[in-house]
Symmetry: C2
Subunit: 112 residues, 2 copies
DNA sequence: AACAAACATCGTAATAATACGATATAACGA
DNA sequence: TCGTTATATCGTATTATTACGATGTTTGTT
């Protein structure tokens, strides 16, 4: 036990869950929000900004990159990160595909 | 260590992360998708639908309820769950507030 | 070449999440 | 009342996440 049963679910369900997991830590939300403002940043910017250790920031950046939300470019001695625009919009559409499935004028006493 | 440093982040960042965590498991995504279609369901529906144990489904339902995404009503001997419409729309707006902050016509070589 | 700056990765301790059997509770029907 | 049905909760084994010091690697500088 303790292991998510991935095979029980659809590809879309697993994909959505993995993406949500990328957003599921305040440090990663903070990194994304910082990037939305600043466009670009490096590891040490975030260490100063957030107050977490360098190794911790690096780990969060890797997870965001693995999820496809960020891309990184070598910029001299440092690593420049930014949001991956295409993927960002795909993720946005994927979430909204779910968010918008709700019936707005739902029958009043259908449920709760 | 191993404990998220909530105090380092803003209220919004922590709130977004908590909500994302609710979406961060394929079983919970599946439950939400089922509810978007069926409007209403009970625990045992989901046990049949998803193939997880009753206790596991109950646990996932509680997490979705705690996150404010679901509401539940006693319906005779069973518990009827549905999506919480107001909160659902609030969550949608919260996520889109982030998703839409990206500059669409971003400068080409600004970053990556 | 030697040093510094910027990161990534490793190792690991602490904590959280996942899954489910077992058990408790509450409502309905015979 | 007694049994059945539907769930919630408890306990717990397993796995995943989080955080950071230590160390390695790469690039630029003197």
């Amino acid at each position: 036990m303790g292991l998510t049963k991935t095979d029980l679910f659809t590809k879309e369900q697993n994909e959505l869950a993995l993406l949500a997991k990328a957003f599921a830590h305040p440090a990663r939300v903070a990194i994304l929000q910082h990037l939305l403002k600043a466009n670009t940043c490096i590891n040490s910017d975030l260490v100063n900004e957030l107050g977490l250790a360098q190794a911790t920031i690096s780990q969060h950046l890797r997870e965001l990159k693995n999820a496809g939300l960020l891309q990184g470019n070598i910029e001299g001695v440092s690593m420049s990160y930014c949001i991956h625009p295409e993927n960002w919009n795909k993720v946005k559409d994927l979430f909204n595909g779910m968010f918008n499935k709700i019936q707005q004028g739902a029958p009043k006493d259908e449920c709760c």
